[in-house]
Amino acid sequence: MTLRRTLLTLLILLVSVSTLVACSGTSANFKVGMVTDSGTIDDKSFNQGTWEGVVQAATELKIDKNYLKPAGTTEADYLASIGNLYDAGFKFIVCPGYKFSSAIYKAQTQYKDAKFVLIDAQPTDADGNAVVATNTVAIFFAEHQSGFLAGVASAVELKTGEFGFIGGMEIPAVQRYNWGFQQGVAYANANLGTTITIKAENVIYQGTFSDVAGGQQLAATMFDKGVTAIFCAAGGVGVGAINEAKTRATQGKTAWIIGVDVDQFADGIYDTTNNKSIVLTSALKGIKTAAYDMIIDQKDGKFPGGQTLTFDASNDGVGIPATNPNLSAATTTAVAGVLAKLKAGTITVASTQGDLIK
């Protein structure tokens, strides 16, 4: 009997302590939640970028934050996670990823007193019509401009050779990276005296964001066929490609990867003493800034509900990293020139396929 009583007391103590902890530490009036897309919270890419923005804002505002990883990648999984966050009092929910479009469409009407930030997509109904409710903001990035700048930078740096592209799933954001990259290379060939070729067979979408082995084998095959640099917009598939390039670099062969979403230079380091990396440059998009800005706007009562925002070169929402150890000063200058023209509108980058490859 005594044992049971002791256990019971302990249990009650535990419960009350955890409730106390849960209640303390909040000073602002909302909690920020995030639901991850396929992949993990530390994918060094999309999820991580968003989460870093959430963490930064939540730390500054001293508010609660939490993220949930859905059991799968279907609409039902996403809705379940959103519901769980909502029930736990997280009424400001950030969802990064194209695949959330239908889930957010339902959630924004179901949870009218919650705010949603949808990155990379607009909420869409079953017929594919975009409906951004007043409690939702949809955020797009001009990935084509980001890919364009990375394409220009890589072409100017390497001057001659063959480039390739490995995408993850064939979804709009990845496609725009690809098309922008091809336009960037073409622009450099036409205006900056480079002779880079991209063969149709070396532009592919692997089909997942997680197949590391697939990424390694695809990159290996491309490099074997004479490709010198591969632009990877492919999450975990890119991890395999980066590893393959590192293996080649340690053997003294030429193999470059152009990173995506965040600055991937550190991931490509194969020689720590000389800080040598196979990541030539990265095509960035300001996911972190976007997530951060929305939370701050909410705090200031300026949440742009119902709007669809686009982050592009004109508001520094996309670009290449500020420092690129693998790019020469001449290349950096050339890219800065192109960026200025892009901002001024003298260069336009198409966000559609046109006659580009895939």
Partner: protein
């Protein structure tokens, strides 16, 4: 025909690299099942091995003067840790007579969760990237042999040869030593083995430890060869290794063939998108689309299992807890 040869020569080394972790994991599964313990926790052991090696290598790489040494220590650490981790499975299945499938499932769930949790707690991220893995080299002289040199001795990793050596040694142990005979007896008829004076529990403990060690080595081999990053999963290769074990009829040579078949088919499916030979085929008939190619090995396995199921050669006592009192 020239095109086909070039193609095979191009992808063969990559197919081997993909096969080796599967092979060693499958061999681990073979030892466990031949002793009478089903081990569907292979995938979890692989993840565990991948984690232990990644963390060890990350720790040692800056300290040791020679990076390759760190990689080898990492592989060894994973193997030992896998054997220790497997004690959980053998304790549940052998000592406590628990359902082996449930225990294996629990091992998988624990491994996926615990490794990422530990990684996050001690490194701040659930992904651990290593600076470099094992070097890829052409073997001198042998790689100059026509045909064979191109296929087997170019772009190879040392892990490939280590694993093949382990396969030979352990196949010998299984079939040509007293220990091997006893181990197989425990998987076929543990009561008879017990009556003959064999300690069934101890034999099964050792066998499960071998399977844990080998699967962990498999996970570590993935890390130091083609992935370079621990991220909390091995893409379900542990289950593929299990399928290869059945496809290979619980025999060392059989699993060598089965895993290579999987490895080769998976590699073709992966790279077919960038090979004009295949993209041309896709233009002619959608049958050759990457998706079909990816499904191919699984479909073949299913068909093969249907045909083999009548004459299945699974160890008879596999999956049954050993109960001394039962007759």
């Amino acid at each position: 025909m020239q095109g086909v040869w070039d193609l095979i020569r191009l992808i063969f080394p990559y197919a081997i690299v993909f096969t080796i972790p599967l092979l060693i994991t499958s061999l681990g599964g073979l030892f466990s099942e031949r002793s009478g313990v089903v081990n569907i926790g292979l995938d979890g052991f692989m993840v565990f091995g991948s984690f232990v090696s990644a963390y060890t290598i990350k720790l040692l790489m800056p300290v040791l003067p020679n990076g390759d040494l760190a990689v080898w220590i990492g592989l060894l650490a994973a193997t030992v840790a896998g054997a220790v981790f497997s004690l959980l499975h053998s304790f549940a299945c052998v000592t406590l007579n628990a359902n082996q499938v449930i225990s294996g499932t629990a091992i998988n769930m624990i491994a996926y969760a615990v490794t990422v949790y530990i990684a996050r707690t001690i490194t701040g991220s659930g992904n651990i990237t290593i600076v470099h893995g094992i070097a890829r080299t052409d073997i001198p002289v042998l790689s100059q042999i026509p045909v064979l040199g191109d296929l087997f001795f170019k772009s190879t990793y040392a892990t490939t040869w280590v694993v093949l050596l382990i396969l030979v040694v352990f196949a010998f142990i299984l079939y040509r030593t007293a220990f091997g005979l006893r181990l197989r007896a425990c998987g076929e008829h543990p009561h008879a083995a017990d009556a003959a004076g064999i300690n069934v529990y101890r034999t099964r403990y050792i066998a499960v430890a071998i399977s844990g060690a080998f699967s962990a080595l498999g996970g570590a081999a993935i890390l130091v060869t083609y992935s370079g990053e621990f991220n909390g999963n091995v893409a379900g290769l542990g289950f593929l290794a299990l399928a290869a074990l059945i496809f290979g009829k619980w025999k060392p040579l059989g699993i060598l063939g089965a895993t290579f078949f999987f490895g080769f088919a998976a590699t073709i499916a992966n790279v077919s998108q960038v090979i004009p030979f295949f993209t041309n085929l896709v233009d002619k008939s959608p049958f050759w689309a990457p998706l079909t190619l990816k499904a191919f090995p699984y479909v073949v396995t299913l068909i093969a299992l249907v045909f083999f199921s009548k004459t299945t050669q699974a160890p008879r006592a596999s999956g049954l807890p050993y109960d001394k009192g039962q007759r």
